[in-house]
């Protein structure tokens, strides 16, 4: 934590400072030479614990939410067993909330099968590295006003650098399995990352342009304040920000291999893609990494478009910033689950076509839009309205045109009938 952050922290409500105070209190107990190490270790442990649990409950939330979307109940049986260590006889299914722990036990006790023909080393390294890389991205996310694990000047660059390595591990998994489905998945993963790394970054660049910084902290801070006291100054509430957010959502879905872009895993085509030859805990690790990646990307989206840890309305400012962040995170994840429950999978050529013919051009246009927005910062009054209209027109026009071109020749059809 920087000195600046500590200085600001002094004037804030107790709840806002609580995590830092807790950490500092613990660090003070230890001898001075080890303090810096423990300081960082606590941060790491805190992230691992919080997001490990968050992952666990994301899996159950995904299953229950998908269940509800599909008019099922989802897992609702796993609870506290009757022969628990609890002193009183307590048995409850707890709405199935302990399902992830049962799953973890199951994954741990399952046989770990490595195909005889597999490249043993890479087959082992892939799940390990995928989790490691996906965890790295958490380092620069501002979880709260004062909660940034590492403050970097070029945090966004770091985020993408760490995040892009996960596809490499998917390639490793797919190639090392010596399975044809896995190999196809590896190729798909590569094609996908080549196509979507660029749109993802391009969708973020406008924010960098307007905020004038690559630091996640600065970007989050720049979105503070409210218009008329109710509309927050979040980037998503500007035409370029809204367009950028949508592009970011699509690119983030693709980057984290979520439906409708879950091509490497494509269970209906490639059995389980790069995961075909994985079982037991290694499989669980991939799963974990997928959710970590999704969480991190959601966190990034929140930071750069949804105001980061800022409260949406002024009178709710007393709620600690990290609570807002987590709330938004839950919302984002919920949205991703909702999308997964609705959409179909694209084909690989359509996926790349969507990236290069639609998202990249739109992102570039949106960059221009953001430039326009930051140049017209001092337009007020009626000019403000003009600014809005022009900015909206800059994105909507190309969107309609490119969309029409992308979807050319395809429309719902009408059919004729024979009556005899």
């Amino acid at each position: 934590m920087s000195a600046y952050a500590m200085a600001v922290a002094g004037s804030e409500p107790f709840l806002e400072r609580a995590p830092l105070l807790l950490r500092d209190a613990f660090v003070q107990l230890l001898p001075a030479p080890t303090q810096w190490l423990v300081h960082h270790l606590i941060t790491i442990v805190a992230i691992l614990a919080v997001f490990g649990l968050f992952f666990a409950f994301t899996t159950i939330a995904e299953r229950k939410l998908l269940g509800r979307l599909q008019n099922r109940r989802g897992p609702n049986r796993t609870g506290v067993p009757q022969f628990s260590i609890l002193p009183w006889r307590f048995k409850h299914t707890l709405f199935g909330l302990s399902q992830p722990f049962a799953d973890a036990v199951k994954a741990l006790t399952k046989e770990d099968i490595v195909p005889a023909a597999a490249d043993k080393l890479l087959h082992f390294l892939a799940p390990v590295l995928v989790v490691a890389f996906s965890l790295l991205t958490f380092a620069v996310l501002p979880f709260g006003r004062n909660l940034i694990p590492v403050e970097l000047d070029s945090a966004l660059l770091y985020f993408f650098a760490a995040g892009s390595a996960t596809e490499l591990t998917i390639f490793m998994a797919g190639w090392a399995s010596r399975n044809k489905y896995s190999l196809l998945a590896a190729m798909r993963a590569l094609a996908q990352v080549i196509s979507y790394e660029l749109p993802l970054m391009l969708s973020v660049v406008p924010v960098v342009l307007v905020a004038g910084s690559l630091s996640t902290r600065e970007i989050a801070l720049a979105q503070g304040g409210w218009t008329f006291g109710i509309i927050p100054h979040w980037n998503v509430f500007t035409p370029w920000g809204f367009a950028g957010f949508l592009l970011f959502l699509v690119a983030a879905l693709a980057e984290s291999n979520r439906s409708p872009f879950d091509l490497p895993e494509a269970e209906s085509e490639l059995v389980a893609g790069h995961l075909t030859e994985y079982s037991g805990f290694k499989y669980a690790l991939f799963f974990m990494a997928e959710y970590f990646g999704l969480t991190a990307l959601s966190g990034l989206g929140i930071t750069i478009f949804l105001g980061g840890w800022q409260a949406p309305v002024p009178f709710l400012g007393f709620v600690p910033s990290y609570a807002w962040f987590m709330l938004k995170l839950v919302g984002m994840i919920g949205f991703f689950i909702w999308v997964r429950g609705t959409l179909l999978r694209l084909r690989i050529d359509q996926l790349t076509r969507l990236a290069w013919q639609f998202i990249v051009p739109l992102a570039l246009i949106n960059l221009l839009n953001a430039a326009f927005w930051s140049l017209t910062r001092d337009w007020t009054g009626a000019l403000q309205l003009v600014r809005w209209v022009i900015s909206a027109a800059i994105v909507v026009g190309p969107f309609v045109l490119l969309g029409r071109k992308l979807n050319a020749g395809r429309a719902p059809r009408t059919y004729r009938y024979a009556t005899s």
């Binding site: 660059l157 590896a186 590569l190 990352v193 080549i194 690559l214």
Partner: protein
């Protein structure tokens, strides 16, 4: 700090050497990625944060994918087939090319006046300053690089678009 530098050098050099000596192309490519990652870590060690992340993003994240893609797409037969000795001509050409690059590098390294003084506090270079430098004094270089990359991209597009097989979806 020195220990870190030694570890990094071992990682970089070791992975590079092993990458050269391995017969399995995919393993070599992955080790090359490890080498690049090591270089990125070295930049970080040297305090060049921005360059380090750019290195990571471009090399580890993107170029490695292209290399792997190329290996997968053009691989003929099994990967572990050692290349036989083809001809003296090739041998000499390889020697000339390798020697040339090595010579330039060695010359550059030896030609650089390395002052062995303890530096003062390193000024923290922000991204903003780097940006100002790029868009200010070095704007011509940046533009040239941009044009070069654009031209190569266009060339790739032309190359890829040459094969214009009608897919069954287009015919009505």
């Amino acid at each position: 700090m020195t220990l870190a530098l030694i570890l990094l050098s071992v990682l970089i050099l070791g992975s590079a050497i092993v990458a050269l000596s391995l017969r399995n192309l995919i393993h070599s490519a992955l080790l090359l990625v490890a080498c690049w990652a090591g270089i990125a870590a070295f930049y970080l060690w040297a305090g060049a944060e921005f360059v380090a992340f750019a290195q990571g993003l471009v090399y580890v994240g993107a170029i490695s994918m292209v290399v792997l893609f190329a290996v997968l797409l053009t691989r003929q037969g099994t990967a572990s087939e050692p290349l036989g000795f083809a001809s003296w001509q090739r041998f000499i050409l390889a020697l000339v090319a390798g020697g040339g690059v090595a010579g330039i590098l060695v010359g550059a390294v030896l030609g650089t006046p390395l002052t062995v003084t303890t530096p003062g506090p390193v000024p923290v270079l922000t991204v903003k300053q780097i940006g100002a430098q790029l868009m200010g004094p070095h704007v011509v270089a940046l533009l040239v690089v941009g044009i070069l990359l654009t031209v190569s991209l266009l060339g790739a597009v032309v190359l890829a678009a040459e094969e214009n097989v009608k897919s069954p979806e287009d015919e009505v």
